[in-house]
Amino acid sequence: MELCDLTLHEIKDLFAQKEVLPSLVMASVVKRIEEVEEKLGAYLALDLEAAMAAARAADERIKAGRALGPLDGIPVAIKDNLCQAGRESTCASRILQGFVPPYTATAVQKLLEQGALVPGRTNMDEFAMGSSTENSAFKPAKNPWDPERVPGGSSGGSAAAVAAGEAIAALGSDTGGSIRQPAAFCGVTGLKPTYGLVSRYGLVAFASSFDQIGPLAKDAEDCALMLAAIAGYDPLDSTSVRNGQVDYPKELEREVAGRTIGLPREYFGEGLDPEVRRLIMAAVAHLEELGVRVVELSLKLTEYALPVYYLISSAEASSNLARYDGIRYGRAAAGREDLAAYYTRTRAEGFGPEVKRRIMLGTYALSAGYYEAYYQKAQQVRTLICREFEEAFRVVDAIVTPTSPTLPFRLGERLADPLAMYLSDVCTVPVNIAGLPAVSVPCGFAQGLPVGMQIIGRPFAEATILNLAHQYQKVTVHHRARPYGRRRGEQNEV
């Protein structure tokens, strides 16, 4: 067992007992990075010297019993779309090459204030647009369980890094499933918080009304610790919410007996891999054993979720990404000619095909004559989808679905077919449409590949879904499987 394969809370406890110091954990992470990173491509930029120096400073605090917080001395990887002062932040896009922000995202700042160490910035689909991390302008990330396969996306680098022990935990962002789907593909636990719970300040916008920052970690308890660190109102983000402080780690230990979960029929239909279905149903059976009541329900508007999501998110993206014009920062096209040609060349060279596809789609949806039929109509359906979830939550405390309808696919398999790629998000996008919290929890392996179960909660009911996830993880071992290190064999015991 390597230190880098331990959970955040295990390491935290070792620190408390002064059995281990941050620099040892960091050294273990560095060693793992040296062993596997070349193969995995989880990071776009490493900052190991600075992280090691920070670890030694944390050593002193741990030794003195003066930890800054539960994350003091913990190596946490940061997705490349979260701004970090003095660090090139590219969103895996050529157009932001060379962009070094003079400010730090609020969520990252909070981690740093707790003493977290940042080994590096993780790979992602360009501007978080994608479900495989193949849209990274620099290199694809690989799935640690099978490097022939994708780690999911867009936070594929963060998920792969945590799974492989290249970090103890990571921050990702989730616009349509970008934390949960890679968490499922890589066998880690990933939480997308309620829209507004975590400040978006410093998160490079993809689709502002969907984007949320959240943790990817080794289990629900780690996610609770991470969430406690990053949640909270931020005066710099008008959409962040004043919500009473919740002690997420403490809420994990509640009894779940008597809770009701709903299984929406529409998420278990055509297109769902039978192996995935089997593992989800086995997990549901486990929950039932814990005294959770299971009901079937129907979310009839689910079929509209993908078009609604792609219309609105692309519309917002087309506007959010318009600022990358090569005038003030980032990569600019060479040569001076007239302004329009300069813009065109800068953007033609700077953006990848998927980003261009979304910009065109979104621009079209907002254009005069199409706005009503596309953007506005999608907003109306969005309201209906929100209401449908509200109705469902009158009956159930949480909704359980597969996180992804399929197993991790092979690199290149879906690149040529954007629609097939978009279908990867079919179970996760409705959650972003309604701004709900959801967690993806490892629930077993099929063909040696991890499968994730999604637990969706009411707005700001992170404590409820993390509680369910934690109680489930207390009686299961799927989340303890590691692609590297000694615990690997455990996957076969499931």
Binding site: N81, L82, C83, S89, C91, L96, F99, P101, P102, Y103, A105, R200, Y201, G202, L203, V204, A205, A207, S208, S209, P235, L236, D237, S238, T239, A315, E316, S318, S319, A322, R323, Y324, D325, I327, R328, Y329, R336, L339, Y343, T363, L366, S367, A368, Y371, Y375
Partner: protein
């Protein structure tokens, strides 16, 4: 054929909030380029706007002063277009739910000009182009994110004169409200005009053109007059007016086509997802309404009624809230409003003109002016002495008592000593005395002047006049 003009204005006023509309940067005019910027107003990736509540309050002040309905639910939208002075490539503005709508402003004639809407938005930066051929431009983002209100009128204006009057009245109101300094030369007040012609009495509107680059009140009047003539000529020749945007060229005093309607951009407005809707409760709006100052029209009416001032005086005095306040402050210590008004419109305006001083910068103590006016009324100072003392007080801030003592300025009202001077003067100018006695009474002025000279201007002119008449009468044969 006779044509009638149909004119509507779009006025942009920069709000004089201390900080920008979505960040904490200062808004001071004239600072060194790009020193009043931050990651938010530079539109750097990941930054987010946070609405400055003051901008909302100022917009509502304008709305209330212009008789608008104030929305209880309003939102901010993105207006998307590419230009180097626009850091985010969209301007945050308001599209379909502005803060204020359906108001009006009344012209002197009593005609009401409809205010269609007033909304808040952010200003863009400023481009400075290199000299011809050098092929580069510089951008100053100090102005990017400065709050603006856009005021859109109904097409209710019929003549260039009405348009100019409207804009002047509007400017006066915004300055009274303390929400904008409205300096057209600094660009803190900008005006575009829409104008079309239709046959006199016709119902349907003609094709309009939009006039831009109007940089002064005079330019507004001239640009509209030019455009009326241009369009009338076209129509008279049976040609059509093209719907287009035209630029006023100040140097050549003409409008020139800038772009046609076909080139109009699609701004792809949509609600800004980074900002939450603005929801206003009635108590908040009522509190703003209660805090509004007396507006120019009301103040003018009151000055006419309360102080029996002529309309002309009241209009000039209420040209600035500071000036009107100054006038009323003078009347705290002095009870002849018309005399005070005359002195202000005469002497004060003259001195302010010489110094190029705006009413807001006036530092003169109103009690000093009251003191001078009282001394003149009491015969202690002649009018010309009063003016002299006033000028000193205006320039130095010293009190009239100090100035009078320092300059030895006193009016001689002592009858005996003045009579001696008068008899001396008459004895020294026998020819003039002769002329006077022969009916050329105009020489009295000359004789008065001689007395003044002898007394170094300190004699009471009224008394000189009486004594001269008495002494001349004694010399009649």
């Amino acid at each position: 054929m006779k044509f009638e003009a149909v004119i509507g204005l779009e006025v942009h006023a920069e709000l004089s909030t201390a900080s920008k509309i979505f960040c904490a940067c200062a808004t001071k005019y004239g600072a060194e380029a790009n020193t009043q910027t931050c990651p938010v107003c530079l539109g750097l990736p990941g930054t987010l706007p946070v609405l400055n509540e003051k901008a909302v309050e100022y917009c509502i002040r304008a709305g209330l002063a212009l008789n608008c309905r104030i929305a209880d639910f309003s939102k901010l939208d993105r207006k998307n277009y590419f230009y180097p002075d626009l850091p985010k490539a969209y301007q945050i503005s308001q599209y379909d739910l502005p803060l204020c709508r359906d108001g009006f402003l009344t012209l002197a004639s009593g005609k009401r000009i409809g205010i269609t809407r007033i909304h808040i938005e952010e200003d863009a930066g400023k481009l400075m182009h290199s000299p011809e051929g050098e092929g580069f431009s510089l951008v100053d983002y100090n102005r990017a994110g400065v709050p603006l209100i856009e005021i859109v009128t109904a097409p209710d204006l019929a003549t260039p004169e009405e348009a100019v009057e409207f804009l002047e009245k509007l400017r006066r109101i915004l300055i009274y409200l303390g929400i904008s300094d409205c300096k057209m030369e600094e660009g803190s007040l900008r005006c575009d005009a829409n104008i079309s012609l239709k046959p006199a009495g016709a119902e349907t509107l003609g094709t309009k053109t939009e006039l831009k680059n109007i940089n002064s009140f005079k330019a507004l009047g001239r640009a509209l007059a030019y455009e009326i003539e241009r369009q009338a000529e076209l129509l008279a020749e049976g040609k059509t007016v093209k719907q287009e945007t035209r630029k006023w060229e100040e140097a050549k005093q003409r409008t020139l086509s800038l772009r046609s309607k076909e080139d109009t951009q699609d701004y792809r407005y949509f609600p800004d997802p980074d900002l939450v809707p603005v929801e206003l409760d009635q108590a908040y709006v009522a509190a703003i309404a209660a805090s509004l100052p007396e507006l120019p029209e009301a103040k003018k009416r009151r000055l006419i009624e309360e102080y029996k001032l002529p309309e002309y005086d009241a209009d000039l005095l209420t040209g600035s809230r500071h000036l009107a306040d100054f006038f009323e402050a003078v009347l705290k210590d002095y009870c002849n409003p018309k005399a005070a008004s005359n002195f202000i419109m005469g002497e004060l305006f003259r001195l302010m003109g010489e110094e190029g001083l705006a009413p807001e910068a006036l530092a003169l103590n109103p009690a000093h002016l009251a003191d001078i006016l009282r001394r003149i009324d009491q015969g202690e100072l002649s009018v010309s002495q009063g003016k002299k003392v006033f000028e000193k007080a205006f320039r130095t801030g010293a009190s009239p008592a100090e100035i009078i003592a320092a300059e030895g300025l006193r009016q001689i009202s002592d009858e005996a000593s003045l009579r001696t001077v008068v008899t001396q003067v008459l004895a020294a100018h026998p020819q003039s005395v002769n002329d006077y006695l022969n009916g050329k009474t105009k020489v009295a002025q000359f004789l008065t002047g001689q007395v003044m000279r002898e007394t170094k201007g300190q004699a009471n002119p009224q008394l000189i006049k009486e004594l001269l008449e008495e002494e001349l009468a004694k010399l009649r044969p």
